[in-house]
């Protein structure tokens, strides 16, 4: 799994490539929670290159989501592949997470959000 982090319009974009699973979850959750701890609580996870996610991957998303929202931010997901979307839908994540077709739309969605950046 590869992770790259960038900023766009006061939003942190975490681009993930590869598989999010029990073998990689710790690396990703550390990267995401480090961003939140540093005050960068508006997060977009770019999933365009995520090939697979398992239940361990879902737990990463949930813990990051809760931490970001507790600090006034949010985690939003962009550019999800069909097989990954199927897992998110089956496990109910699409009902609690905001999902977008692309990164620009996800970043733009934060424009109406007040509070911390």
């Amino acid at each position: 799994m590869q992770i790259s982090i960038s900023q766009q319009d006061h939003v942190t974009i975490v681009a993930v490539a590869g598989s999010i699973d029990a073998l990689t979850a710790d690396t990703l959750v550390t990267a995401l929670l480090d961003e939140v701890a540093a005050g960068r609580t508006r997060l977009v996870a770019h999933f365009g290159a995520v090939e697979y996610t398992s239940s361990a991957g879902l737990r990463v998303l949930l813990s990051t989501l809760k931490e970001a929202r507790q600090r006034g931010g949010d985690l939003r997901i962009a550019d999800i592949r069909p097989n990954v979307r199927q897992v998110l839908e089956l496990s109910g994540f699409t009902s609690i997470l905001k999902c977008f077709a692309d990164v620009d739309s996800a970043v733009a969605s934060f424009a109406n959000m007040g509070g911390n950046k």
Partner: protein
Amino acid sequence: MSRAGNGIALVIGSGGVKCAAAIGLQRCLARESINIDLVVGCSGGSIYAAAIALGKNAEEAAALSTALWTRDVTAQPDRAALMRMLFPKLLGFTERFGLKKDHVVWERLMTAFGELTFADCKIPLFITATDFRTGEQVTISEGRIADAVRASIAIPFAFAPWEVNGRLCIDGFLSDPLPVGVAIREGAQVIIAMGFESPYQERVTSGGRFAFQLSSIMTNNLLKASFAFHGLAHHSEVIAVIPQFSQRIRLFDTGKIPLLIDEGDAAMGEQLPYLRRLLAAVPA
């Protein structure tokens, strides 16, 4: 992550004849020499869970499926039951209600499993049903396998509830269509969960189809809610195998069993790269 305890569990959810996809999953795992340590089955999935637990290979399970699961299983209406439904006070309605005669399905189950019990299984087997009186999930792990399967496939309105170990049971899908929780409770580490969404009606043109549509809506939402909870609650890994069939599959499309097996094999194959990496990283 350690593989102490019950290692790899396979959970096969409800789905009528679609559950034959589990034979393909079994074939895929056998090709990779990946052994299952315990198996859980619900409703239609209970037939294949039992076959796997008894040590039947994919060919034997396919033959069992073709012989057991034919349209005449539900072909004979129980007109007396229908009359009791229409005139309950006059004729005496009871909770052992089903609109189809169940002697054919019972004969088929006895042909398939006879007097075999859970004690005859090569690996631990758990079959889930639902307590008709309380709605609780019932996990059956002792007694005759045929009784457990019959209880687990007691499709509401079609087959009458079935008594097992003193509890009147109805179809397992009513409490959890994909009972991953049983595998978690039994100490499984890696859980392979094969589940099936219930199909929605193309057209609702009768009371029966209306009821099926309501059932699908409730079942699919229960499937998602339950799977979400178990996926987040499990300390280790739940690998979902949800076949996306290339054709519409109806409840008794037994002619499509070869297709179902191939698609189950392919769906498991998609998960293999990760499963291989996971098992390689985890000492047995």
